[in-house]
């Protein structure tokens, strides 16, 4: 508990960012028409692939003979990239249908 309090004392901005981002997320979504629920969920899903950045940084910070890191990191980047690219591409496909009128 002490360490958590210490963490918050040392990083107040993290807390601010957390609260602001949560609030922003609520605000962005609360007035969405039902038609867009599926594309929006899909788009948000693609964005949750930001975790790929962690995987990239991890592999870059690994020694080139640290095979466990490289293997898991490689896997992480591939999976994250499928999430990001596939997610945005499939969202685009859904939205294309609304466009042609």
């Amino acid at each position: 508990m002490d360490q958590i309090i210490q963490f918050l004392e040392e990083n107040p901005m993290v807390l601010y960012m957390l609260v602001m981002a949560i609030y922003l997320g609520f605000e962005l979504i609360s007035k969405v028409p039902t038609v867009l629920h599926t594309p929006l969920m899909s788009g948000a899903n693609a964005i949750s692939g930001v975790v790929i950045i962690g995987a990239i940084l991890l592999v870059r910070q690994s020694a080139s003979d640290d095979y466990l890191n490289l293997f898991l990191g490689f896997l992480g980047i591939v999976l994250g990239m499928i999430n990001v690219v596939g997610g945005h591409a499939v969202t685009n496909r859904m939205l294309e249908m609304f466009k042609k009128k």
Binding site: I4, F7, M17, A21, I22, L24, G25, F26, L28, I29, K31, T34, V35, L36, H37, T38, P39, L40, M41, S42, A44, N45, A46, I47, S48, V50, V51, G54, A55, I56, V59, R60, S62, A63, L68, L72, F74, L75, G76, I77, V78, L79, G80, M81, I82, N83, V84, V85, G86, H88, A89, V90, T91, N92, R93, E96, M97, F98, K100, K101
Partner: protein, 469 residues
């Protein structure tokens, strides 16, 4: 260099937020998706060039992984049939969760090496960082296996079977996982057994969490799991001190939570009820179908009814998606419109396997937007409707939700199609809906059944209407 990288992350965050905002308006949605994708691309480039103090960069491996992932993701999204999109989104979400798990394992393993050097006090891992990493692994793992189960259920690869006393098992699992995590971060030792045990329990929990939930509630579950992946990404962002991951993850976490709640409201159920209740688990209330008689119609009867109606309402459901009948329906719509029949579509918020699923499919078939009525407008229009054509919808038109307090879906707002004059139900056979609940609509005096594949049935309706001239 670091300044440029930081600025790039900032621009990426702005692009993400702008993208999400544009995604929530019909006219700007597609552009919004592209803006968000640009933000993501910029962030990835920034993470590739940011200066690092340790490590060998390993650019070759990274490039290989990026190309492989992009290729697989792109191909999958191009090849999938529009009907299978909901499960694909779920699958992608699971992979994002797995990515969070992979990096958490590496991170925990690195702490492990520090824990084994007992006398090196300078290199101890902060408890808060350790805790955050453990939580990222836990939540990522639940999102991973949970999404895979949801994918399997939607794709029809996993059947709804009940885990004995699932409620107790799940509560016990959560308590065990949280307990182990707290114990672990407060007294880490040199063994890597405990983190692995936490991982295995988390993966199991993802399965036991989603498995008992009925297939009809999968949209809510996918949205919730999507929010969880976001939270896992945000936690990983705290560990890496990366604002882009933190903000992107939290945005998904909070918007996903709101979306989940909106969907639950559309079904008039609480999130708790969805998670604990388990649709179909209590299907005992259904009446015995064997004793009741359904009235069958021929396509000729139905064609005559349609042709000489003033107002026709189409109620699409998952059956339309499975049969890929949307374009055929549009054809029937065109034909009837030529004869002066008003055709509208009643879209229940949870028809299909995802909210908006039907809108997407009908838009694909070029059905004009004003013809689609939402729940309220449709219920207002139904008393004036001569023929309601139910195409593969079931639970969203089940009158038991209105008048049978023992039904598991009692209280859910439905399309009250019995207010209309005639109901024609297009259905493959007499099986119950996805929730496994019997539907008294089929036995109602106003209802006629037209059995067969939805697309073929509608095609034969088109042929019959044409012969009527």
């Amino acid at each position: 260099m670091q300044a440029i990288v930081n600025l790039s992350y900032l621009v990426s965050v702005i692009l993400l937020i702008t993208g999400l905002r544009r995604l929530s308006h019909p006219s700007t949605a597609q552009n919004g998706n592209i803006v968000a994708a640009l933000g993501m691309g910029l962030a990835i480039v920034a993470s590739l060039v940011t200066p690092i103090s340790v490590g060998d960069d390993n650019y070759f491996i990274i490039t290989l992984a990026l190309i492989a992932g992009a290729f697989i993701g792109w191909t999958m999204s191009k090849r999938v049939a529009m009907t299978a999109m909901p499960e694909l989104v779920s699958l992608f979400n699971g992979l994002g969760g797995a990515c969070a798990v992979a990096i958490s394992i590496i991170e925990l393993y690195q702490y492990q090496e520090l824990f084994s050097r007992k006398f090196n006090l300078f290199q101890q891992v902060e408890v808060s960082k350790h805790l955050t990493t453990q939580l990222a692994m836990f939540i990522g793992a639940v999102a991973f296996t949970g999404s895979i189960i949801a994918y399997g259920k939607l794709a029809g690869k996993i059947k709804d079977w009940k885990i004995p006393s699932a409620g107790i098992v799940n509560i016990a699992l959560v308590v065990a996982i949280v307990g182990l995590i707290i114990f672990r971060v407060l007294s880490p030792d040199a063994s890597f057994f405990l983190p692995m045990l936490i991982l295995v329990l988390s993966l199991v929990y993802g399965v036991t969490f989603v498995q008992p939930i009925g297939g009809a509630d999968m949209p809510v579950v996918i949205s919730l799991l999507n929010a969880l992946t976001g939270v896992a990404a945000a936690l990983a962002g705290i560990v890496y001190d990366n604002q882009m991951m933190l903000i992107g993850g939290i945005l998904v976490g909070s918007s996903g939570t709101i979306l989940t709640i909106v969907m639950c409201q559309a079904m008039n159920r609480s999130l708790f009820n969805v998670i604990v209740g388990g649709f179909g688990a209590s299907a005992a209330s259904g009446q015995d179908a064997g004793e009741q008689v359904v009235k069958e119609a021929t396509s000729n009867d139905v064609a005559i009814m349609l042709r000489y109606s003033d107002n026709v309402m189409v109620v699409p459901g998952y059956g339309m998606a499975v049969a890929q009948a949307q374009k055929t329906i549009k054809e029937l719509d065109n034909l009837l419109s030529e004869h002066g029949v008003n055709v509208h579509y009643a879209i229940h918020p949870v028809a299909g396997r995802m909210p908006g699923h039907m809108n997407v499919l009908l838009a694909e078939a070029d059905v004009p937007y004003p013809k689609l009525l939402d729940l309220e407008d449709a219920n207002d229009a139904l008393p004036e409707t001569d023929v309601t054509l139910v195409v593969g919808a079931n639970d969203v038109v089940n009158p038991a939700a209105l008048d049978d307090p023992s039904s598991p879906i009692y209280g859910m707002p439905i399309l009250e199609i019995l207010k209309g004059k005639n109901v024609i139900v297009l259905k493959r056979g007499m099986s119950a809906g996805y929730s496994g609940i019997e539907n008294p609509l089929f036995f109602h005096e106003k209802t006629r059944m037209l059995f067969g594949d939805a697309k073929q049935s509608i095609q034969s309706l088109i042929d019959e209407v044409k012969t009527l001239g």
